[in-house]
Symmetry: C2
Subunit: 652 residues, 2 copies
C-alpha cells in the first residue's frame, strides 16, 4: 500500500484515482474477510461490518496509526471502534493494514481461547480500547485526546461509532467534555445506515443526530460513507478545523452483499450455505476463502498480544506523617498527598503527567489542593460519572496517570459497568472514593456506598485499599500513583484519630511501608481478635479499651486490602482465638464475608461474628448511623465478649 503513503497524516488534499482504486480493492477484500469470519464462526455481525468498512479503511489509510506506531509509542493517533460488534470488519481491516495476520482472524474469530473475541478487544494489535457495551467509545476517545494533549503530543483520536448507540446518554456526556476542553483533536465518525436490530433508528428510538451533536458544541459534517474521496476530504477538514467534530457518514447496512443490504436480519446473523458463495462472488473473492479458513480452524490458537505496561515516571516525594494529636480526615490526607506529588513533578521533564478528574465535588473529595497546584491538569467534568469512569480508564493506557475522586455511590455504584470494562481493558485507572460505608455525612441511604468491596470483587484485576487513618492514606495515595493496574482507594468522610502504636507514635509513620495485601497488627492481645476494615479500626481500638476494663485482652487487626485477603496469614495471627470482623459494608458481601467464605472453603471451624451493615442506613451523623446499625465500639466489645464467654476462646 505504498501508493497510499501521502495520505498518512492526511497530507494529500485528496485521493487520486489510483488511491481510490486501492482503497476500493482493500475494502472489497476486507468485506469478504468479514463475511468469512462470521460464517466460519457461525455468529457475529456481518452487516454492520460491511456498513462500516469504507470508514475503517479510509481512517486506517490516513491516520497516524500504523503497526509500528501502535506497538511503540503514545505519540500517534488513536482509534476507537465504539460499535464493537463490528469486530469482524475491524479485524479484517486491520489485517489488510498489516496489524495482524488476517488468516488467524479468519480461522479463529469467536473461537474460545482466541484473542479475536466477539467484540473488539484489547490484546489484538490495532485495538486501542475494547468495546462491546454500546455508547462508551466516545468517552474512551475523549480520554485518549485529553491524554495526548497532556503529553504535549496533541495527536488526533478517531472514534468510529454506530447509529443505534447514539441515544445512549453517556455519549452526550462525552461530547460535553470534548467541547468544554476544546478538543480539536477528536473526530467522531458515525456509521449512519439507519438500521438497528429491530427496525430503523427512527422506529427504535428517534433522535435528531445533527441537532444533538450541535447542541453539545460539535461541528457536524455529513458525507457519503462509501465515497472514499468525500470521506477523506471531510475527515481531513474535520481533523484540521480546530474543534471537536463529527462526521455523519451515510452508509448502507450490509454494503457490498446484495442480500444483506438494508436488512435488519444480518445485523447479528452470519451467512450460511449458498449465501456464503454468493457473498464472496459479489465481492469478487474466491469461494475457497471460506473452506480454507474453516479448515484451518482447529490448529493451534493464536496468542494474545502482550499488553504494554505503562511506564510511570514520578517522584513520589516523602510521606507526610500526621502526629498522634492531628485532626485530619482521610480524604484530606489523600488530597494533600496527591497535591504534593503533583507539585513535585509537574514541571520536571520526563515525568508522567498526573490528571485529576472531578464531578463537581472538588471541595468534598479534596481535589481542590490539586486544582491549585496544577490547574491545567485538573479536569472538571461535571456530573457525568459514566463518562468520567471510561475516560479515566482510556487515558490510563495512553501515557498519563488519571485520578478520579468521587463519592462511592457515584464512582463505583453508578459507574460499575464502566469500571468493569476498565478491568477487561486492563487499564490503570486510579479511583479514589472519599465517601464510602456509613461514613458519608448526613446524606442518607442513597449516598451510603456499602457495596464497594463486593463490586470490585467481581472484577479479576481491580485492587482495593481501605486505609485506617490519614497516615496510611498518605502512603497508599503515593503508592497507587505508580502501581500498575486499576486501583481503588476507599475511605469515609470523617476526621479520624491517628492510629498509634503502644508508645503513642503513629502506627503508619516512620518505619512503615505500604505494601498491597497483608494484615496490620495494630494491637496484640491474647483473648480475642477484632479484624476491622478502614476507619472501623479506631472503633475497634475503642472496643479494646472497653474490653480491657472487663479483663479481656483483644488483639486489633486491620485489613486494608480485603480483595487480597490471605486467610492463612489471618489464621496464623489469630493464634486460635475467636474473631470479630467489623466493617461498615454490607455484612454479607464485604471483608467479613470474604473471611467467612475462606474459612468455609478450608473447613476451618472458627468461632466468629461478622459485624456489618444489615439494612439500608439512616440519615444522620456517622456516629449516630453507626450506633443505630449496632457498629459502635460498645457493640463490637459486646460481640467480642460474648464470643469469649461462649467458649469461643477455645480453638476447635
Amino acid at each position: 500500500m505504498n501508493d497510499l503513503a501521502n495520505l498518512r497524516g492526511f497530507v494529500a488534499d485528496e485521493l487520486n484515482d489510483a488511491q481510490v482504486a486501492i482503497l476500493e480493492g482493500a475494502a472489497r477484500r476486507a468485506r469478504a474477510h468479514a463475511v468469512v469470519m462470521t460464517s466460519v464462526a457461525a455468529s457475529g455481525h456481518p452487516a454492520g461490518a460491511l456498513s462500516s468498512m469504507d470508514l475503517f479503511v479510509t481512517v486506517l489509510a490516513s491516520a497516524d496509526f500504523t503497526p509500528e506506531l501502535f506497538g511503540g509509542t503514545h505519540d500517534r493517533d488513536h482509534i476507537v471502534v465504539s460499535h464493537g460488534h463490528t469486530s469482524a470488519g475491524w479485524y479484517a481491516a486491520l489485517g489488510l493494514f498489516n496489524f495482524l495476520d488476517v488468516e488467524e482472524a479468519l480461522a479463529h474469530f469467536r473461537q474460545a481461547g482466541s484473542p479475536y473475541q466477539g467484540h473488539v478487544e484489547r490484546g489484538v494489535p490495532g485495538v486501542d480500547w475494547g468495546t462491546g457495551n454500546l455508547g462508551q467509545g466516545l468517552s474512551a476517545g475523549v480520554g485518549f485526546a485529553i491524554a495526548s494533549r497532556a503529553l504535549g503530543h496533541d495527536r488526533h483520536t478517531y472514534v468510529l461509532m454506530g447509529d443505534g448507540e447514539q441515544v445512549k446518554g453517556q455519549i452526550a456526556e462525552a461530547r460535553r467534555v470534548a467541547h468544554k476542553r476544546e478538543l480539536g483533536n477528536i473526530t467522531a465518525v458515525v456509521d449512519w445506515n439507519n438500521i438497528q436490530i429491530s427496525g430503523t433508528c427512527q422506529e427504535i428510538m428517534p433522535a435528531d443526530l445533527r441537532a444533538l451533536w450541535e447542541a453539545d458544541g460539535f461541528k457536524v459534517y455529513e458525507c457519503d460513507g462509501h465515497d472514499y474521496n468525500a470521506l477523506y476530504k471531510t475527515l481531513k477538514e474535520a481533523r484540521n478545523d480546530g474543534v471537536p467534530s463529527v462526521v455523519l457518514a451515510k452508509t448502507v447496512m450490509g454494503k457490498g452483499v446484495s442480500f444483506m443490504e438494508n436488512k435488519c436480519d444480518f445485523h447479528g446473523k452470519a451467512a450460511v450455505g449458498g449465501e456464503i458463495a454468493q457473498a464472496l462472488g459479489e465481492l469478487g473473492e474466491p469461494e475457497s476463502l471460506y473452506a480454507e479458513a474453516k479448515n484451518r480452524r482447529f490448529e493451534a490458537l493464536p496468542q494474545e498480544v502482550l499488553f504494554l505496561e505503562e511506564k510511570v515516571e514520578l517522584d513520589l516525594g516523602q510521606p507526610i506523617t500526621y502526629e498522634a494529636d492531628a485532626r485530619k480526615d482521610n480524604r484530606g490526607a489523600f488530597g494533600a498527598a496527591l497535591a504534593d506529588v503533583a507539585g513535585k513533578n509537574k514541571d520536571v521533564a520526563g515525568r508522567t503527567p498526573i490528571l485529576a478528574f472531578d464531578c463537581d465535588l472538588a471541595g468534598s473529595v479534596k481535589l481542590d489542593a490539586f486544582a491549585r497546584v496544577a490547574p491545567e491538569r485538573f479536569i472538571q467534568a461535571g456530573i457525568q460519572e459514566h463518562n468520567v469512569a471510561t475516560l479515566v480508564g482510556a487515558a490510563s493506557v495512553a501515557g498519563v496517570v488519571p485520578v478520579w475522586a468521587d463519592f462511592g455511590v457515584f464512582g463505583i455504584d453508578e459507574a460499575y459497568n464502566q469500571q468493569r470494562l476498565n478491568d477487561t481493558n486492563r487499564a490503570n485507572a486510579k479511583l479514589v472514593l472519599t465517601h464510602v460505608g456509613l461514613d458519608v455525612g448526613e446524606d442518607g441511604m442513597t449516598h451510603q456506598c456499602i457495596d464497594y468491596v463486593s463490586l470490585l470483587r467481581n472484577c479479576f484485576g481491580w485492587k482495593l485499599v481501605v486505609p485506617a487513618d490519614p497516615n496510611q492514606t498518605d502512603l497508599a495515595t503515593r503508592w497507587l500513583l505508580t502501581e500498575p493496574g486499576n486501583i481503588c482507594l476507599a475511605m469515609g468522610r470523617s476526621v479520624l484519630p491517628i492510629v498509634t502504636k503502644d508508645d503513642g507514635t503513629p502506627f503508619f509513620g516512620k518505619g512503615y511501608t505500604f505494601k498491597y495485601g497483608g494484615i496490620d497488627v495494630i494491637r496484640k492481645g491474647a483473648d480475642v481478635n477484632i479484624l476491622a476494615m478502614g476507619h472501623m479500626v479506631s472503633r475497634a481500638l475503642a472496643a479494646r479499651e472497653i474490653l480491657r476494663r472487663e479483663k479481656i485482652d483483644a488483639q486489633v487487626l486491620h485489613c486494608a486490602c480485603p480483595l487480597a485477603m490471605n486467610v492463612d496469614e489471618l489464621l496464623w495471627l489469630m493464634r486460635k482465638r475467636p474473631l470479630v470482623t467489623c466493617e461498615d459494608h454490607h455484612v454479607d458481601t464485604g471483608m467479613g464475608a470474604i473471611v467467612a467464605m475462606n474459612f468455609g472453603r478450608k473447613g476451618k471451624s472458627v468461632p466468629m461474628v461478622n459485624m456489618g451493615v444489615t439494612r439500608y442506613g439512616d440519615s444522620g451523623s456517622a456516629e449516630d448511623v453507626l450506633f443505630r446499625m449496632k457498629l459502635a465500639p460498645e457493640d463490637i466489645a459486646r460481640s467480642a465478649k460474648e464470643l469469649v464467654a461462649t467458649g469461643g476462646g477455645l480453638a476447635r
Copy 2:
C-alpha cells in the same frame, strides 16, 4: 388554603392577587422551615431549597396532588423531585400543604432513625420517588406518565429538576422516550439558578439547555421561577399543550435570604449562629422557630409511613409444560409464558396492565411474542438502559406490572445503581435477564454477566430466581408477575434439556409448584452432593452419569434462589456427604460463595469444592467457553470424585 381551590388541576386561568399573596406567604414560611431544618440538622442544602421553593409551592397548589389523593389512588398527578438534595425545601412545602407534620420534619430532619432523610425518600407522604443520585428523576417521571396512560388515567406528572444535573446522560434518554411515546402528560420544571457546588453551570460543564431539550423533541418554556403568576400560567400552558414539555425557570440560588443569594457556599452548608436569626428575620419568621425545633430534636422519632402494597390483579393461566423431548431455551419459555398471561388479561376489565420494555433486543430476549399479543403495551425504549431501569421501577409503584427483559450485562451491570435505587424505593420492578453467565452466545467477555448474584446480593430487597429449565422458567415467570417487590429472573441463552424425574417425566411439571427459596432435589444419591444453579443442573446431571460409571452415586441439587439460600436445609439434604457447587458465575461472589460463607459462619467443616468462573471468559459457543473454564460435566465429575476419594465422604 381554601382560597386556592380553583387552582387545583390548573382550572383557573391565572392567580388573583389574593392567591399570589397566599403563595408568597406559604413560600416565605416554607423557606424559613427549610433554613431551620438544615440548621437544626447542621447539614443539608438550604440554598437549593430556597431556590426551588416557589416552584414547589406553585406545583403543589395546582397539581391534582393532595394528601387524600396521595394515599389512596393512582388516579392523580405525580410529582418527582429529581434534585433530591433540596429535601428540606420539599418537606417544608409538603408540610404547608398538609402532607406531613412539619414540626416533625423541623425537629428530625437528617436525624438517624427519622424518615426525613438527607435526600427525598419514599416513606415520607408526598414523595412519589426517592432520589438523591442526580439525573434520574425524569426517568421516574416518564415511568409514572407511561403507567398513568396505561391505566387509562392519563394524569400529569411533574418532574422538578436541578440545573447541575442537566448534563447527566440519563436525562436525554428519558426525554427521548417521552418524545417517542408522545407523552403530553409530563412536564419537567428546571430550577435554573445557574449555580452548582463549585461555580456556575457554565464553569462546571457548559450545556445549552434549550437546545438539548428541543433536540429531543420537548417544547421549551422559559419563565421567572419566582413569579407565581408567570409560573402558574406557563405550567398551565405546558400541561395542556399535548406534548412533553419543560419549563426552564430562572431562579436565584438561596432566594429570600440575602447572604445565601447567588452563592455557591450554601449549596451544602447550613446557616449557623447569628446567620439563622438573620435568615429568619429576613423571611419574617420568629427567631424562636429554630430553638423550638432544636429542643424537640431528641424526642421520639416520627415513624416511617407504611408503603402501599400494590395490588396486582392477573389471571396467571395454566403453566405450559414442555415434555422431556422438547427443544426449548429458557428465554423462549419466559417469552411464551409472558405472552400467554398478557393475552389472557389484556382485554379483561379490572386486570392490572402488564407493560414490557425492550432495549432493541426483542428477538433475542423473546419479547417478540408479547409485542404481537399486546403491541400497545410493548415499549421499545432503544439502547438506553439506565433510563429504562428507572422508569420500570417508577412504573411499578404506579399501578402497572412492568417487565424489562435484557441481556445481563445491560440490565444489571450497566444499570446497577438504578436497580439499587429501585430497591431503596421498594419498587416492584420485574427484571428478566436472558443472557447471563457464560451462556450468552459467542459475544465474549464483555457480554458475560458473571456477577448478577453478587450485585443483587448487595440489595436488601431484591429477589433472584435462576431457573434450571424451560418448565421452571414458565412457572417462575407467572409467579413473579403478581409477587410484590423487585424480582430478577436470570437465565442463559441456550436450548436446554428438560430436567426430568427418575421416571422420565418433567421434574418441574405437574405436581411442582414454584415457591421462592428452597432447594430442589433433582436426583437422590448417597456418595456426594452436586449443587448446581440454573442451567448448570443439566451439566450436573451429565456429571452424575459419568460418576455412575465409576460407581459413585451423586445427589444432584438445584438452587434457583441463591439469595434465599437456607444452609440448614442444604446441610440436612446433604446427609453429611461432601459438596460440589457449580455455577457459571464468578466463583468468589455467587451461589457457592454464599454456601461457603454460611458454612464458615456456622463453623461447619464440610468437604467442599466451589466451581465457577475464575477469569474473564472466552468468546465462543457456551459449550466451548464452559469447557475452557473447566465447568464441563467431566470437570464436575472429576471434582466430585476427588472429593470422595480424599476422604471427603466422611462427615467431619
